[in-house]
């Protein structure tokens, strides 16, 4: 047996080059790079859509795009950012880092890993192609609520199948990550020695496998309701449009944690390094993450308090929602306690991580406000909701990923990025993102509804300010692109350790690491495990 395996090994070092390398690869680093590249491209695609939205909303009245196109921009912006940026981006981190962090040569199922990625460009072709179909792209919002969604034109089946396709990718990717973490850990790498990033991805994978099939079911019901005469969401046949909202948000709420948990993990790696202290309360972080994931299955109806549910349901979902604040609070306090009396330095990854803690917490608090049923009757479907989820997703999930890119880019490329430009990118982003989203709280509380291309005159000033923030934030990301390209091409040679306070197996490998991370498993002890 070992002959065949050894042969496989030797052969491997002569992997194909050029386009074949990327198309046929079974290597976790190549696939990680592909995922991250796709996420970066889609970040600019979805970002361009956001620029259209902010341009139209800069002034009251209709001036640049027609309302139907505006609605499809809002719909596709969300689908692209969720399924095309945050999800593939965090899977890219998982691919690059999990084998290196647990002391493995690669993922458990490398060919499946290739397929998980190579589905996505095809799936996004299906989705974005709809913009060129008669009737335009989907315009019913990313939540796809019937009966509005059922009025979609030729785009409808393309959108549904694109979601099925992306879901297949997510499920296969998650299966691979769980199999890798369960089965590929180096000797001595016990579960309670796993770096927190690995833990968050283990739990995220479970959430994905449990909920993506439910989304697949929900969109299948939409498809059959439109084309095959079923009545899932048709009251005239005994169904109920609200049923869709239940099934969708049974997926949708865990999905929120799918988007944020990997960034929790990234921040939990960055903060100890630049505080030069071990992560405070490692075990409670693990349990808090698991609790958040568990509770996320019982809070879905807080997305639709106003739809007309029985009072007992409203109260149950309110209390369940409030209870998530407890494990989330544990995490925020642990991050702060990690920095407490540390020897802090403020390199770009640390800046993004600290901004994450502050701004994500703001988004968490506005989430608590929205979770209070009677208060939500006022806030529902206003810009307050938009402000809330952009704080948790942009200054939360995306800032976590940006920090992670700066943190591991020297390890991945072997070059240090330009620290001065990195700091410029951070400050431009951190200031402009608050100019962009903070005023949307005021707009929402004053009653401006979301998902409209025009608004009453009293909302004009804050919308103008928000748009200016949006344009600056968008342009700042071009700087990010420049910094990455510059770092890949050249830069100061990065040491293996890269950051003097960093702990974990990935820092014991050369920068850039060898093609197969650990060809012989390292022995992990308490001293070499996470800090």
């Amino acid at each position: 047996m070992s002959d065949a395996v050894m042969h496989g090994h030797e052969h491997h070092d002569h992997h194909p080059t050029g386009w074949k390398r990327w198309l046929f690869t079974t290597n976790h680093k190549d696939i990680g790079t592909l995922y991250l590249t796709l996420a970066l491209v889609m970040f600019f695609v979805g970002g361009a859509m956001a620029m259209v939205i902010r341009l139209e909303l800069m002034h009251p009245g209709l001036q640049y795009v027609d309302p139907q196109f505006f609605n499809s921009m809002a719909t596709l912006h969300a689908l692209v950012m969720i399924f095309g940026v945050v999800m593939p981006g965090t899977v890219g981190f998982a691919n690059w880092l999990i084998p290196m962090m647990i002391g493995a040569p690669d993922m458990a199922l490398p060919r499946l890993n290739n397929w998980s990625f190579w589905i996505l460009p095809f799936a996004f072709s299906l989705l974005l192609l709809t913009l060129f179909l008669p009737g335009g792209g989907p315009a019913g919002g990313w939540t796809l609520y019937p009966p509005l969604m059922l009025q979609t034109g030729a785009a409808m089946p393309f959108v549904i199948f694109a979601i099925h396709f992306m879901g297949a990718s997510s499920i296969m990717g998650s299966i691979n990550i769980i199999a890798t973490i369960f089965n590929m850990r180096a000797p001595g790498m016990t579960f309670m020695r796993l770096p927190l990033f690995v833990w968050t991805w283990l739990i995220t994978s479970f959430l994905l496998i449990a909920t993506i099939p439910v989304l697949a079911g929900a969109v299948t019901m939409l498809l059959t309701d439109k084309y095959f005469g079923t009545s899932f969401f048709n009251a005239a046949g005994g169904g109920d449009p609200v049923l869709f909202q239940h099934v969708f948000w049974f997926f949708g709420h865990p999905e929120v944690y799918i988007l944020i948990l990997p960034s929790f993990g990234i921040v939990s790696q960055i903060l100890p390094t630049f505080s030069r202290k071990p992560l405070f309360g490692y075990e409670s972080m693990v349990y808090a993450t698991a609790s958040i994931a568990f509770l996320s299955f019982f809070v879905w109806a807080h997305h639709k308090f106003t739809v007309g549910m029985p009072l007992a349901g409203e109260l149950f979902f309110m209390y369940a929602t409030m209870s998530i604040a407890v494990p989330t609070g544990v995490k925020v306090f642990n991050w702060i306690a990690t920095m407490w009396r540390g020897s802090l330095t403020f390199e770009t990854p640390m800046l993004f991580a600290i901004a994450f803690v502050v701004l994500f917490t703001i988004g968490g608090f506005s989430g608590l406000m929205l979770g209070i049923t009677p208060a939500d009757f006022q806030y529902h479907d206003t810009y307050f909701v938009v402000a809330h989820f952009h704080y948790v997703l942009v200054t939360g999930a995306v800032f976590g990923m940006l920090g992670g890119v700066y943190y591991w880019l020297p390890k991945w490329t072997g070059h240090m990025y330009d620290e001065t430009l990195g700091k410029w990118h951070f400050w431009l982003s951190a200031i402009s993102v608050n100019v962009l989203f903070f005023p949307q709280h005021f707009l929402g509380l004053a009653g401006m509804p979301r998902r409209i291309p025009d608004y009453a005159l009293q909302f004009a000033e804050w919308n103008f300010i928000s748009s200016i923030g949006g344009f600056v934030f968008g342009l700042s990301q071009l700087l990010f692109l420049y910094i990455i390209v510059k770092c890949i091409r050249a830069g100061a040679k990065a040491s293996d350790q890269v950051w003097d306070g960093a702990h974990g197996l990935e820092w014991t490998l050369p920068s850039p690491p060898p093609y197969h991370s650990f060809v012989s498993p390292p022995m992990v002890t308490d001293a070499t495990a996470h800090s």
Partner: protein
């Protein structure tokens, strides 16, 4: 490279995944075009299916050759096991979504349309003639739907089908025991019995569907009862068909001497899947047909 490194199995770069993506992309694009009444839709769909099936043969063929070549060690075996386990879990959640829709309709939306739970005005203003029951005797707005005469009772053909599918769960276990004792003839025969029962089940379901459509007037368009009935049993039937096809593959492999008493994950994966469709059917029998 140290000797312990030989413990890891790392496959070569492979063109099968991208082939599968092209196949599935064509399936989806073709189906979407077909639904939009674009003429080439069915052809694109057919091309995609052909590519996808070619990929399945090629990819599984590669894995089977590697397995029979003795390349897979214990660690690879465990990775496959976790992979299959979580795949089946994802399938369970897919069915959970449809069962959720069934329970929602039975417990909430249909009674609400009849005025239960403080929805009196809904009942009054929408369809006052509707009185809720399950199976529904009337559809709230019957003129929009195919009205059915009756539904399929549990204790007829569905009960027979239950016995067939449960027996096939037994025969696949007998095949497994035979494999572990290296009784090859018994292995092949019990496998053959299992896949025969599986396809028999699918055939009986198909004739029941024909009966429902042609004689009972029960269709996908028969309100929420017809919807949940056909979607749940239909997706289950699709999974039985896939499972029976997988059984056929491992039967052919068993006939050509594959699998060893201590190394036969391909067999076990199919057996797990088969038990999964079995359990789903029990849920269907109780909640769709019986109660």
């Amino acid at each position: 490279m140290s000797t312990s490194s030989s413990g890891y199995y790392l496959p070569e770069p492979s063109h099968w995944p991208i082939t599968g993506s092209i196949g599935l992309f064509s399936v989806f694009a073709g189906a979407a075009m077909w639904l939009n009444q674009v003429g080439v839709g069915p052809m694109v769909l057919g091309f995609g299916l052909a590519v996808f099936i070619y990929m399945l043969f090629g990819w599984f063929g590669t894995v089977i050759r590697e397995s029979e070549g003795g390349i897979f060690n214990r660690q690879v075996d465990v990775s496959f096991r976790w992979g299959m386990f979580w795949f089946i879990f994802s399938e369970v959640m897919f069915f959970a979504g449809f069962f959720g829709a069934l329970f929602y309709a039975r417990v909430l939306s249909v009674p609400w349309l009849g005025g239960a739970g403080g929805e009196l005005s809904t009942h009054e203003f929408l369809w006052p003639a509707f009185s809720p029951s399950w199976p529904m005797n009337v559809i709230p707005k019957p003129e929009d739907f195919t009205v059915y005469k009756e539904v399929i009772p549990a204790w007829g053909v569905p009960a027979v089908n239950t016995i067939i599918l449960l027996s096939s769960g037994g025969t696949v276990t007998l095949a497994h025991w035979a494999l572990k004792k290296n009784q090859r003839r018994a292995l092949c025969w019990w496998l053959f019995a299992t896949l025969t029962l599986g396809f028999l089940f699918v055939g009986i379901q198909a004739s029941e569907y024909a009966h429902a459509y042609e004689e009972l007037g029960l269709t996908l368009n028969s309100g929420i009862y017809g919807t949940t009935f056909f979607m749940l049993t239909g997706f289950h039937g699709l999974h039985v068909t896939i499972g029976a096809t997988m059984l056929t593959v491992i039967w052919a492999r068993a006939l050509s001497g594959h699998f060893k008493p201590d190394h036969h994950f391909g067999f076990e994966a199919v057996a797990w899947y088969w038990h999964f469709v079995d359990v789903v059917w029990l849920g269907l029998f109780v909640f769709v047909y019986w109660l």
